[in-house]
């Protein structure tokens, strides 16, 4: 089981790192409730 955990979901994201924004505002009350 631990081996499964270790090997899942380790693929690198496809978006180029330099394209990622520094600021990601999170939390939206209108979508929350």
């Amino acid at each position: 089981m631990t081996d499964d955990l270790a090997t899942q979901d380790t693929s690198e994201g496809e978006i180029a790192l330099e394209d990622l924004p520094d600021d990601v505002p999170v939390g939206d009350p209108e979508k929350e409730d």
Partner: protein
């Protein structure tokens, strides 16, 4: 009863419970408040709402750089923030967590919606505090990762039957999936961050205040569990290892509670014990005699 030393007070962001008008849009601030609670060892507990106010931002959600600035300028806590091209890897985050560095994590909630950890109605960008890990194991890549992480999700207030009540032990795999599901350009843009990337802000490594001749444990921290040697009794936390007087009692700690020891020293030897070794937290203000601890030296 004394709480585990590194655990903060849970702060719900729900305005009905926090009294914070901007509560729903302040998840990053509330997650930050709980990380600062850990960093201050509970001695100073800013509210998520106070942090929100100090950002000076009164509309919409907040970002990691915003709360980083508040933590630094208002509380003197220099968070190590990883966003954009400097995102943290899973390995880096796990290593920091194991070293006692709690962190704020920005996530996408989509992977949570079908689990008992669900806290939001829909799939949104969100933020949680990751406090500690357990079940550490060396993975096939050779680095240590936890089986589970104690997550303080400020939206997990059980306001509905389907909403979890935090804090909860999330599988580390789920933490990773949620981190990967963050939508960096907002929920109206379908692009997700992807694997092995985390928008995270880590608290500084705990600074050990050596007292009573304390020396650093090995490993650091030494994860141990409280266990009274007397059946039916709780282990006792004391303010110093040099006396068994009643005024040194901080309080009982439930058997089985995880305790992070950063220093040990020789102190008073309780009657009936062959040992004078005591284990202290990183502040040097809470000590447990070795006879009240189990699993010394092991990963927990």
């Amino acid at each position: 009863m004394v709480n585990a030393p590194n655990r903060p007070i849970f702060q719900p962001q729900n305005p009905a419970k926090s009294g914070c008008k901007l509560g729903w849009s302040s998840c990053t601030c509330f997650a930050c408040a709980m990380v600062l609670d850990i960093a201050f060892f509970g001695a100073k507990v800013p509210t998520g709402c106070t942090i929100r106010t100090k950002t000076g931002d009164v509309s919409g959600g907040t970002t990691l750089p915003q709360v980083d600035a508040v933590a630094t300028n208002s509380y003197g806590v220099n968070l190590e923030t990883h966003t954009g091209s400097n995102v943290a890897t899973y390995e880096y985050a796990a290593r920091q967590l194991k070293a006692g560095r709690a962190f704020i994590l920005q996530i996408g909630t989509h992977p949570l919606l079908s689990t008992t950890f669900r806290s939001t109605r829909g799939s949104i960008n969100h933020a949680v505090a990751c406090g500690e890990g357990r079940g550490w194991f060396r993975n096939t890549a050779g680095w240590m990762e936890p089986k589970e992480v104690l997550v303080y999700d400020p939206a997990a207030d059980h306001r509905y039957a389907w909403v979890d009540q935090g804090p909860s032990w999330w599988p580390w795999l789920l933490v990773r999936q949620a981190a990967a599901a963050l939508q960096p350009w907002g929920e109206d843009d379908s692009r997700t961050l992807g694997g092995n990337r985390m928008y995270a802000a880590f608290m500084p490594a705990p600074k050990v205040a050596y007292r009573y001749g304390g020396t650093l444990t090995a490993p650091v921290p030494d994860q141990v569990r409280a266990q009274s040697p007397i059946a039916g009794r709780s282990a006792i936390v004391r303010s110093r290892p040099t006396s068994l007087a009643s005024d040194t009692v901080v309080g009982p700690i439930a058997n089985g509670t995880l305790w992070w020891a950063y220093q040990k020293t020789h102190g008073v030897k309780p009657a009936g014990s062959a040992s004078d070794v005591w284990y202290g937290d990183w502040t040097g203000t809470r000590w447990i005699h070795s006879s009240n601890l189990q699993s010394v030296g092991g990963d927990s």
